[in-house]
Amino acid sequence: MSTATKKEHKQNRPQRGGVATFVEAIRQGIWEEMERDPSVFVIGEDVGVYGGAFKVTDGLINEFGEERVIDTPISEAAIVGAACGAALMGMRPVAEFQFIDFISPAFDMLTNYAAKCRYRWGAGLPTVFRGPCGAGVHSGPFHSVNAEAFFLNTAGLKIVEPSTAYDAKGLIKAAIRDPDPVLFFEHKKLYRLPRLREELPEDDYIVEIGKARTAREGRDLSIITFGAQVLTALDAASELEREGIDVEVVDLRTLAPMDKASILASVKKTSKVLILHEAARTGGIGGEIAATIAEEAFEWLDAPVVRVAATDTPVPYSPPLEEYHLPQLKDVLDAARKLAAY
């Protein structure tokens, strides 16, 4: 699939803040943390001279050298294991998966070693495991995964997925400073999306892990979502506004530990919930969200909890098939209208 292109070289130090794309915001965040803290280093496949498949680490090697920007063999389990070992020594690794699909060979290292170390003997592992996730760019079954649900049942892993440039920078910096392992998922569709270009503060800032964000205030129903689907939700909201339906959009930002308080607050406000995610419906994170609501906000509900998600198949390659598989704006509108009318 087409990743970064020749034109986009930004070998040099990124500016501090200023107008930035989603990818540039993450690059700024990592760069600033490496300047701030010598124990921070980057490790992964093709992250050095090449600057990463999506150029997230572009230029870092020129600034920080091979010692702190490490190209590895094609060995995801070793990347995770080595990151954990280095973290035990007091380093703060930021490990890249070239695509989040390739986190799966490291599933064991993440869920059994990284996740359980502090619990077993008090050894916290300040580690970040990041990479491009998500579908919608016709990359087929092996370059499109949304992996959050694979890890949600394993205590000890934080999961973060931003949807704005501001949050991306603030959250990657928070993740790097976090005392525990953080899985940081970046939807590849957002990296260079003009719509997400925004002015970032010059000064150092972080966005706290574990806190959702109200992307849009509304009274009639809540769409609870995250990542690239926040944009679908916002588009649906403006369209529904014209129909007199006032939609609130909650951007979770952190998927584990989940911000239950914000979810429940929104539900109690609107009494109707639509959960939207890009991964397959069955076994997806929507189940956890719906269960939490059905359990803790039952009395406030005026309608069934509705999930809009991908169909229960792998992510197909061909555009018409992928479009059928993925949740579309029309699916959200349809569900929202039925919910509103319920």
Binding site: S2, T5, E45, D71, I74, P105, P141, P316, S318, K338
Partner: protein, 421 residues
């Protein structure tokens, strides 16, 4: 002399006895299968680590010579050709040419289609390394199986997959073998002995171990050939799969395509061995090294390995030294290449080289080759047209075949509030 000291030592050193002997055939044996193997792998501070230690300053000869026959096969005019010792008939050699050229032409067409934005997703070229895929696959019987890499289009064509299937796949069309569900060569054809790969590198090694295991249980006398890159060999799946095959003495042949890069990563950052074939020692199996740009040498070494495997000799690794002249995919700017490297490898182009071989050895006339090329263009034109004429898949088709739908219904999008309301 220990491996470290080898790694430090410079100079070209001498060729090993083994490789000198088999030099005529462009085939060497590595330390893993040779008492004198260490000679081979200590021969010059070659390849990977020379690039590494010279801080990316390119050292053609050492990189190239390492572990390979002392002398390139040359024709009377002193031009680089292919090994002349072969059991191939002239007709077979022409067929081999056809596949080699076809591979190049199909990929060039794919690039055109890509530029016309008719290809969905990326195009991954094998320019400069086509001889490895074509030559090795040509040594197989119909009952044998291959699991190629994305860059082994040539092997897929040799196994009987038609260009139209490839074009349709790349264009994500309904008539493609995966009906638009997966991309490029990510499909399979059990009748033709072709198991398409998945993206996750290394995973096909255990799968091909299983093909060989199942074949043995069913008394099919088949050989399984799995292609893997210098990068893919670093995966745990490669290790587990090959180790199990070696223990079971299964007929699994690993074609280790040493094309010097894994995406942007040079082999020196992938492994500390000189030759990928050296890895065979860790599995108690033989390792062979061949000039991957000498299509006849690739055929010959594989032929012998196949016979050996079929007769119960177990697994082996064949390292083909070649070079990936294009970037990882079309978007890759190759900024990581050292000066001069590409130019050197252009002079070793496997197609030019084989053409020269056929002509100067009088195996084919220019007219004959032109005929073949014309024929190829015709076929490719037809197949592109066929593929373009295919519709895109019906959206709803996406719901089918997760499970056997006679047991579990298709995965349609459920109605809001569910089927129960």
């Amino acid at each position: 002399m220990t491996n470290e000291t080898q790694r430090k030592a410079g100079g070209r050193g001498g060729r090993s006895k083994a490789s000198r002997e088999s030099g005529k055939k462009g085939v060497a044996e590595s330390s893993s299968s040779q008492g004198s193997g260490n000679g081979a792998s200590s021969s010059g501070d070659g390849g990977a680590s020379s690039l590494e230690e010279a801080g990316q300053e390119f050292q053609v000869t050492e990189m190239w010579l390492n572990g390979l026959p002392s002398a390139d096969p040359l024709n009377e005019r002193g031009e680089l050709v292919c090994t002349s010792e072969t059991s191939l008939t002239p007709d077979e050699m022409l067929e081999l040419y056809r596949y080699l050229k076809l591979t190049r032409v199909v990929e060039e067409r794919l690039v055109n289609l890509y530029r016309q934005t008719k290809v969905v997703g990326g195009v991954f070229r094998s320019l400069g390394q086509e001889a490895t895929a074509v030559g090795t696959a040509y040594a197989l019987e119909t009952q044998d199986f291959i699991a190629p890499l994305i860059r082994d289009l040539g092997a897929v064509l040799v196994k009987g997959i038609r260009p139209r299937e490839i074009f349709a796949q790349y264009m994500a069309k309904a008539w493609g073998p995966s009906e638009g569900r997966d991309l490029n060569i990510h499909f399979g054809n059990m009748e033709k002995g072709f198991i398409g790969p998945i993206s996750h590198l290394g995973d096909m090694i255990p799968v091909m171990t299983g093909i060989a295991l199942g074949g043995r249980m069913q008394k099919k006398n088949l050989v399984a050939v799995a292609y893997i890159g210098d990068g893919g060999m670093s995966t745990g799946a490669f290790h587990e799969g090959l180790n199990f095959a070696a223990v079971q003495r299964l007929p699994l042949i690993i074609i280790a395509e040493h094309n010097w890069y894994a995406y942007s990563t040079p082999t020196s950052k992938q492994t500390a061995v000189k030759n990928l074939a050296d890895k065979a020692a860790g599995y108690g199996i033989p390792g062979h090294i061949v000039d991957g740009n000498d299509i006849i040498a690739c055929y010959e070494v594989t032929k012998k390995a196949v016979e050996h495997a079929r007769s119960g000799g177990g697994a082996c690794i064949i390292e083909a030294k070649t070079y990936r002249r294009k970037g990882h995919a079309e978007h890759d700017d190759q900024r990581y290449l050292p000066e001069g490297e590409l130019q050197f490898w252009e002079t070793r182009d496997p197609l030019d080289r084989y053409e020269r071989h056929l002509l100067s050895k009088g195996i084919a006339t220019r007219e004959k080759l032109d005929e073949i090329n014309a024929d190829i263009s015709r076929e490719v034109d037809e197949d592109v047209a066929w593929a373009e004429s295919s519709p895109m898949p019906e959206p709803e088709k996406a719901a089918y075949n997760v499970f056997d739908n006679s047991v579990v219904p298709p995965a349609f999008r459920p109605p809001v509030f569910g089927s129960e309301q």
